[in-house]
Amino acid sequence: MKLDARVPAGPIAEKWDRHKFQMKLVNPANKRKYNVIVVGTGLAGASAAASLGELGYNVQNFCIQDSPRRAHSIAAQGGINAAKNYQNDGDSIYRLFYDTVKGGDYRSREANVYRLAQLSVNIIDQCVAQGVPFAREYGGLLDNRSFGGAQVSRTFYARGQTGQQLLIGAYQSLMRQVHEKKVKLFARREMLDLVLVDGKARGIIVRNLTTGAIERYVADAVILATGGYGTAYYLSTNAVNSNVTAAWRAHKRGALFANPCYTQIHPTCIPVSGDHQSKLTLMSESLRNDGRVWVPKKKGDTRPPEQIPEDERDYYLERKYPSFGNLVPRDVASRNAKQMADDGRGVGETGLAVYLDFKDAIQRIGPETIKEKYGNLFQMYQKITDEDPYKVPMRIYPAIHYTMGGLWVDYNLMSNVPGLHVLGEANFSDHGANRLGASALMQGLADGYFVIPYTLGDYLASNALPKVTTDHDAFKEAADNAQKQINTLLAVKGKKTIRHIHRELGRILWDNVGMARTEASLNDALKKIPTLREEFWQNVSVPGTQDNLNQSLEYAGRVADYLEFAELLARDALERRESCGGHFREESQTPDGEALRDDEHFSYVAAWEFKGVGRAPELHKEPLEFDEVHPSQRSYK
C-alpha cells in the first residue's frame, strides 16, 4: 500500500488556497441529496455537523452521552491558540506554524500544520460571533495569555472553561441545524462498526444505548470525530466514557492507525489516592508559574513537608534546568517527577507525588494575589484532597492527558478508506509527537468548521456513489458481527469485573508504555497484554441483558477494544527506537537525559494496518519532509 498524503503543490503559504480552488464543488441544489454521518459531538464533530448542515447536506450526528453538549471537549480549561497577533508581540501564522512543528518534535506534516495556523484566526472570529464569552480587557478587546511556555500571548480563554464555552458555541450551532431539520441527532448511540460497500465507507452500525437495539445507518460518507484513547491507561484526565472503539473498529475494517505510541502526559494532576480512583483531575499548568516543585533530598523521608528544612529539599527542576526552571515543557517536567518517585523520593502516602509549593509566592505577592490568580484551582484541590494548599504544599503527579496518535488521514482529513474522514483528536494529523498547550481545541474546530466543509464536497463531487440501503449484505454482516460480540460478552459469565481488568491493563500500560519506555518494558507489555485479553474473554463478568440500558455491557465492549489496541500501542512504541515528544525511549537520550531523536531512521509517520487479532500488524511509513522548519535538538537547560 502506498500512502498518499495528497499534499498540494506550491509554497507552503499558498497550498490551502490553491487547493480550495482546485477542489470540486457540490452544486448548492445537489447538497441536499447527500447524506453524511458524523460520529462524535465534541469540538470536531459538532462543528463539522453544524457546518455541513448549514451548507445543506443531510447530516446524521451520533454521540454516546445523553446530549451532544457533554462531549469530552467540554473539560478543556486552559484556552485556544490563534495567530491573531492582537498583542502586537510578534506573533504570526508562520510563528504559530513554526512553534507547532517544533513543539511536535518534528514528527508532523508541515502542510497540515501550516493550514491549522492559517485557520486559527477564523476560528476566533466564528466563536466570537456565536457569543462565546471570551475574556476581555477593560477597553473591550479580546484578552490573551501566554500558555504552555509560548513566548507570545496568543491564547484566548473563557475563564477556566474555554473548552466548555467553545463546545457550547458549536453545540448551539448544531442545535440550530437540528431545528432546521438539516441535522438529525442520535444521542446515547455507540458506534460499533464501520460499513464498507465497494471499498468505500457507506455507513455505520450503532447500538442504541437505551433500548439496546443494533441500528444501521447509511450515508454517502462517514466522518469520525470520536476523540482520543487516553482511557486505555485506565487512569487519565479523560472523561470516563472516552474510548477507542469507533476508531479501532474502523481500523479493523482497513483504516490505518498512525503513531499510537505518541501519548501526552500532563505534569500537574492531583495524585492517585487509592485503588478506588476512577479518573485523575488536571490542574492548570499555569500553577507552575508561581509554584516551586521539590522533593526531599533524603530517600524515604516521611516527615510532613513543613518539617523538612530548606537545605534538605531538592528543587530538582530549578537545579537541573536553571534557565527554564519550573517552566520546562510538559514531558520534561513529567519525566523528572517520575524519576524522583522511582528514586524513592516521592512524597505522600503512595510515594507517587512531588510537592508544588506556593510558600515563596505567597510571601512574595501575598495570599490575596495568589487567590485571585489560582483561587478556583486551590479550591478544587482542597475539595478533592481535603488539604489547604495555602498552608501545605500541593502534591502533584503526571497523568495521561492527550493522545497525538490516531487514524491516519491525508491532507483532506480522509483516511486510506475512501469516504472515511477523521477529525479532531481521533486523527493523528497535526501535533506530531507532542501537542502544545491550547492547540487541541484549535485543531478540532479548524477541522470541523473550515476544512471538512471543503474537502468533503470534493470527495462527494469526485466519486460515483451509487444508492445503497441498509439491507445491503455489508450492513447485515456488520450488524451480525456487532451482535455476535455482544452475545459473547454476555455469555462469558466469569468472575472478574470489567473494571478490574481495565485497571490491570492500565497498570501494564502505565508501567511499561508510560512516561519512560525501554525495549524490555515494551516486550514485557507485549507479553502481558495478550494474556490479559485471554483472561478477559475467559473470565469477565458482564451482568444484565442487552435489551435495555446496560452500562456494564458498554464498558465491556470498550475494554475489549482497548485490550486489542494496547498491543498496537506497545508495538508502535517498540518499533520507534528513538525518543521524540511524548515518546521517551530510555535507550535514546542525550548525556543529560534529554529526549534524543533519530531523524535519519525515524522521520516518518508510522501507519499500521490491521492483520487480525493477535497477528502482527503491518507497518506503512509516510516519510516526513521538512522544507520550512529544520529539525534541531531541543534544549531547556
Binding site: R176, H179, E180, K181
Partner: protein, 262 residues
Amino acid sequence: MLIGNAQTRQGDRRPPEGNVGTAVAPMLGAKVNSSLMATRTRIFSSSVGTKLLIGVTGVFLFIYLLIHIAGNLVVFLGPAAFNKYAFTLEGNPLLPIIELLLLSVFLVHIYKTVRMFLGNQSARPVAYAKKKSAGSPSRKTFASSTMIVSGLWLLVFLLIHVKAFHDGWGQQYEWPAGGRDLYRQEIETFSNPLMVVFYVISMVVVGSHLWHGISSAFQSLGADKPAWTRFILPAGKVIAVLIASAFIVIALWAHFVAGVRS
C-alpha cells in the same frame, strides 16, 4: 401627529408577511406565521406570562390590603370617626367600579394560581421519597411551600369576612348621623370568641401568604437589582408581619377592650 406616530409604530410591529417569513424562518422553522399568532394569545398562558399575572394581581391585592389596614386603624379613633370614614367611602360613586376591579383581580389571582398549582403538580408526577431544602440562598420557607393552602384559606376567609362585614349575616345597624354603624357591626362580630380565633388564625395565614408573596411578586415582575433585592427580601417579611399583627390587634382590641366597654 401623535396618532400618526402611534400608527406607524403599530405598523412597524407587524411587518409584511413575507418579511416575517424570511426574518423569522431561521429561528422558528416552517411554522413561523401560525406560531407567531399563537404566541400573541399565549402571552398570559405561558409559564412566564402566568407569573406576570400572578405578580401583578398579587401586588394589587397587597396594595389593597395596605389601604384596608390603614382604613381599619381608624377604628381606634372611636365610632364617630370610623363610621364617618366608612360612610364617605361608601358614598364614593367610583366604589362599585373599584369593587368590581377588586373582584376581578381576585378572580384572576385565584384562577391563575390554582391553574399554575395544578400545572406544577403535573410537572412532577412521581414524588421524591425524600426531599429537603438545600438551604441558603434558597428562599424556600414554610410560607413559600404552602402558598396554595394559605391562598385557599384566604378565599374561605374572604367569603366569611365579606358576608360578616358587608351584610352582617342579615343583621345591620343604623348610625344616627347617616349610613351603617359599621363600628358596632365590628364589635358585634368580634364579640364572638370563635370569630376572634378564626380571624386571628386567618391573619396569621395572611402574614404567611405575604411572607413569601411580597418579595416574590417583585421577582415575578422581573424587578431585580442586587441592591434592591437585598432590601426587598427582608422588607417583604417585615411588612407581612406588620400587616398581620395590625389586623390581629384590631380583632383582639375589639373583643377584649372595645367590646367590654360598649
